[in-house]
């Protein structure tokens, strides 16, 4: 692998990491509250506003239904508004986040649902408000699952970030497509895929470790 390619791969790795972790962080910040809201409004013993839960579910499903490449383009004006430009790595974080938020919301919801009702009861019985139920029971008890879900989300983002090449975001996936798929440069493709495998495995290993420590 020539020096030039090594440099390309190195830059692309940074770009991928930037996109994945930035949008992953935003996915948690946006998706977790949505998931919690969806859950607590659906439960009789908490907020009991099934209509709101349904509404949120609908919005989330609608966002998830739009193919990412279309979302990418439809969101260009929004991206420009938020990021100042519609092109490049930083700009790609906007559509990636907007795709990842509903995705993580659904994944987080699965884990939150599994929390033993007895623990919600316990916090309620102590005189905990509904907010405290979320803070002391739902989130901490679901944490191993939430982390595992985040791991899945991050890896999915690695895949999605490849498509962000469409708006000039660069990154490993884009490099693999450009050199590997479009130019049949097997060396580059394999080395890029190798780096991708390392990135994915590191994310997975880190996620597993954190989840295990919490369990």
């Amino acid at each position: 692998m020539s020096h030039l390619i090594a440099e390309l791969v190195f830059r692309a790795t940074l770009e991928t990491l930037e996109m994945v972790f930035a949008s992953g962080a935003i996915a948690v910040l946006g998706g977790l509250p949505l998931a919690v809201l969806m859950l607590v409004t659906s439960r009789r013993d908490l907020f009991d506003m099934v209509w709101l839960s349904r509404l949120l579910g609908t919005v989330i499903d609608a966002l998830r239904a739009v193919p990412f490449i279309i979302l990418l383009v439809l969101l260009i004006p929004v991206t420009r508004l938020i990021a100042g430009t519609a092109l490049g790595t930083a700009a790609a974080i906007v559509p990636l986040s907007i795709a990842a938020i509903p995705y993580y919301a659904r994944i987080a919801e699965v884990s939150l649902k599994e929390v033993d009702a007895g623990l919600v009861d316990a916090v309620r019985a102590m005189g905990g408000t509904r907010w405290m139920v979320i803070r002391y029971a739902l989130i901490p008890e679901a944490l191993p699952g939430l982390i595992a879900g985040l791991t899945v989300t991050l890896v999915t983002l690695v895949g999605a970030s490849a498509m962000a090449g469409a708006i000039g975001a660069g990154g490993l996936g884009d490099l693999a497509i450009r050199y590997g798929y479009q130019r049949f440069n097997t060396t580059v493709m394999l080395s890029v895929v190798a780096v991708l495998v390392v990135v994915v495995m590191s994310i997975q290993a880190a996620g597993n470790m954190v989840a295990r420590r919490l369990r």
Partner: protein
Amino acid sequence: QSNTTLRIGIMSGEDEDIWRIVSTNASKSGLTLKIVTFSDYSTPNQALSEGDLDANAFQHGPFLKAQSEANGFKITPVGNTYFAPMGLYSHRWKSLQDLPPNASIGVPNDPSNEGRALLLLQTLGILKISSSAGLLPTALDITDNPRNISIRELDAGVVGRALTDLDAAVVNTEWAQKAGIDTIKERIGEETLQNNPYVCFIATNAKDASAAWVKPLVSAYQQPNTRQALLDVYHGAIVPAWT
């Protein structure tokens, strides 16, 4: 001449190598080129018209026309780059006449390539396309299909590789070479080079068409070293389109 920085949108792939040379050429005339690569055909024009780019170089006239009509872009060509001929290839059949009824023919599925491929098939007398479809027809615009050919719309990078699964396929020469097709022996039809509208060019927003940096940019491209690079990089699959 003052140092100007330009953002140029191109498609990812071998073009990046060409533009690396162009960048070097341009720096001699005081231009710093920032190359932005795209893997999707729809975004570079939008990015250009919205000012995220100063120029782009990836398209031919029919494609630009269609995009401008749909989106109201005010983009004009400022200098030719190259011409990439298309051919009809087959592993199974020796000539056009051998193509059986109900044969399947693969075409690229992106708007400009698909239209061009269908028009090639029309030129070869395999089918007829509605005249109202203009330069960007799709399989839906076929009006006459005497041999009941089935058109398979595939990703430009896939058509060549999938030739085994097809009776024939229309493939850009560059892709055909990469897919391991013998572009001479397996070709059963090709584009006529005369008056071909599919010459690629550098484009800018109409308001910038006479900007001071346009000429140096175009001439940075139309250099002998670029010509050589085009021939090398694409292994003869494309033809430089300037004299």
